[in-house]
């Protein structure tokens, strides 16, 4: 599947990789001054915070350069939280990607301005991007000890919480995370499925193919890069999510964002200062790898969307 995708992409030829280089002009014109306010804003609230977040990991309380905080990234406790974050993201992204792709498939052929699509798009947008705290409340109300679900299940003799109050611990993050991964998949993967052309299906039919050969020889190979890119985006999404976990797991630091919270709110974690900076650096490193992969695969996937 992947090999066929690569081959097809090679046949499609190289894309223009040249990036336009902004060249300095001799004299600043008034129009260039117009770029200053936004530039200053981005530097002050995006560039400086990012650099500060990463740089504080390299300095101790007295402002001296140190690699001591960085060595915290090799601490077993920190490694454990990074591993927790990673498997939680890998798993919820996988479930979300598959279920979301099914929804995209079910929507194939529904016109763009059909009300069903508008409603699903809006719902997906809310749940994927703006849920946060609210999703934690929804899952406490829907699955918690006093929920209808728990009452019904215990009526049938099934004790949802036999293994302890897991909803407020690491396993409790799985249902809400899947809950916001599925809609994100619908948003990111939908356009790729819509780019499948009816002509390809017709060509498949005239060449004697059927529905099975369409998907195995054309559909899936064409969609594979988009699916992989969407999967990486979903991974990044749950890896960086904070609000839902902060409310559900109000104590403890089972995943990296919660460990950053602990490092920010109490002075020392693991007996180190400025651990938040080191953790932020670790997170940025993971995100950079994942998002670079996303950009590269996405560029390949776009070749089919002309």
């Amino acid at each position: 599947m992947t090999a066929a995708g690569t081959e097809a992409a090679v046949i499609a030829g190289p894309v223009d990789g040249a990036t336009p280089r902004p060249r300095a002009r001799r004299l600043p014109r008034p129009a260039q001054l117009g770029l200053v306010p936004f530039g200053a804003y981005v530097v002050l609230f995006l560039v400086v915070p990012t650099v500060l977040a990463v740089a504080t990991g390299f300095f101790d309380k007295a402002g001296r350069f140190t690699l001591d905080n960085l060595s915290a990234l090799a601490d077993p406790v920190v490694l454990d939280t990074f591993w927790n974050s990673t498997w939680l993201s890998l798993m919820t992204a996988a479930v979300g990607a598959l279920a979301g792709a099914l929804v995209c498939y079910a929507l194939l052929g529904v016109p763009a301005h059909h009300p069903t699509r508008s409603v699903i798009d809006a719902l997906a947008g809310v749940l994927a991007q703006f849920g946060g705290v609210m999703l934690a409340f929804v899952f406490i109300a829907a699955m918690g000890r006093s929920s209808l679900l728990n009452v019904w299940l215990s009526g049938m003799g099934i004790n949802l919480y036999a293994g302890g109050n897991w909803l407020y611990e690491l396993p409790g993050l799985i249902p809400p995370y899947i809950y916001f991964q599925i809609p994100l998949m619908v948003i990111t993967f939908g356009p790729a499925l819509d780019s499948l052309k009816p002509q390809w299906a017709e060509a498949n039919l005239t060449l004697g193919g059927n529905r099975w050969t369409f998907w195995t020889r054309i559909g899936l190979p064409v969609l594979a890069p988009s699916f992989a890119a969407s999967y990486l985006l979903l991974f990044a999404n749950s890896f960086s999510a904070y609000a839902t976990a902060a409310v559900l797991a109000s104590q403890g630091s089972q995943i990296v964002p919660l460990q950053i919270r602990a490092a920010l709110t109490s002075e020392t974690v693991l007996g180190r200062e400025n651990l938040a900076g080191a953790l932020a650096l670790g997170m940025i490193a993971v995100m950079a790898v994942v998002m670079t992969g996303y950009a590269l695969i996405q560029r390949r996937a776009e070749r089919w969307r002309r």
């Binding site: 500060l52 052929g109 301005h113 009816p198 904070y242």
Partner: protein, 267 residues
């Protein structure tokens, strides 16, 4: 579009719709049921309690948070409309070579988790606290960054749909000044994208928790978490209402976008 052979069978659509739809909708319905509980029966008693004077003291943080959030929405929308949009117009008209860099910068916040941004924003907001005060509205500067990818996409889509350069040149050759060009010629042509960007900014600010809670400022979400410890019902009710409002905002964006597209086809 004609039904292509790879389109799913209607029965397949229904099965997938029921399976995934129930996973998405049942928790929301269960949450609604939770807010309607009244002992062993159901009633609107918890919804009515929102305006109960006896509970006003408990619920006060929510109203404070909501007021702060509304103010944050206004300032964030101002950042989008008065800072981002004019810069994007300028880049597209006069510095097309910078378009790629602009896109890179605007989409960068997707790759930087809010929790990481907070680590770096903490020292900056210490300085802001000394100069501009510790008012909640100052958070809007940070929210402008989190909104950036969404707002950029909406506005850029609108810019790509019209011929900005021709419009500007036509207006200029008729003697319009640059402010007139932007305000009376370009902005009306981009209003769909500007509206979408503003509504998305509203939705982002309404649901934001990470930055506000860790910088110790009060907005709607931090208030909901605070009040939840005393009264779970009211924070769940406000969560449902906020989700509903976000849903409606996005629905409006989607429908107006489709209307715009439909109008474009008629021409």
């Amino acid at each position: 579009m004609r039904r292509a052979s790879f389109h799913p069978h209607p029965a397949t659509r229904v099965v997938i719709g029921i399976l995934v739809g129930s996973f998405v909708l049942l928790p929301l319905l269960a949450t609604l049921e939770f807010t309607l509980r009244d002992g062993d029966a159901h009633s609107f008693v918890h919804w009515a309690a929102i305006f109960d004077p006896a509970k006003a003291a408990t619920y006060k943080p929510i109203w404070v948070g909501l007021t702060n959030s509304v103010m944050l929405m206004l300032v964030t929308v101002a950042v989008v409309l008065l800072l981002l949009a004019p810069t994007m117009i300028l880049v597209n008209l006069r510095f097309p070579r910078l378009r790629r860099s602009m896109e890179f910068v605007a989409l960068l916040p997707i790759s930087i988790p809010a929790i990481v941004l907070v680590v770096g924003l903490t020292p900056i907001y210490l300085v802001i606290g000394h100069t501009l005060g510790t008012g909640a509205w100052t958070l809007a500067f940070a929210y402008g960054i989190t909104v950036l990818p969404f707002a950029y996409r909406s506005i850029q889509a609108a810019i790509d749909a019209v011929n900005l350069a021709t419009l500007a040149e036509a207006a200029r050759s008729l003697g319009a000044s640059w402010p007139t060009v932007v305000w009376r010629v370009l902005a009306p042509n981009l209003r769909g994208g500007l509206l979408a960007a503003s509504l998305i900014a509203v939705a982002v600010v309404l649901g934001e928790y990470t930055i506000a809670s860790l910088l110790n400022r009060q907005n709607l979400q931090t208030a909901l978490v605070l009040v939840n410890r005393q009264d779970a019902y009211v924070s769940v009710i406000f969560s449902l209402l906020a989700l509903l409002l976000c849903f409606l905002l996005l629905l409006i964006i989607g429908r107006t976008g489709n209307l715009g597209a439909a109008r474009g086809k008629e021409r």
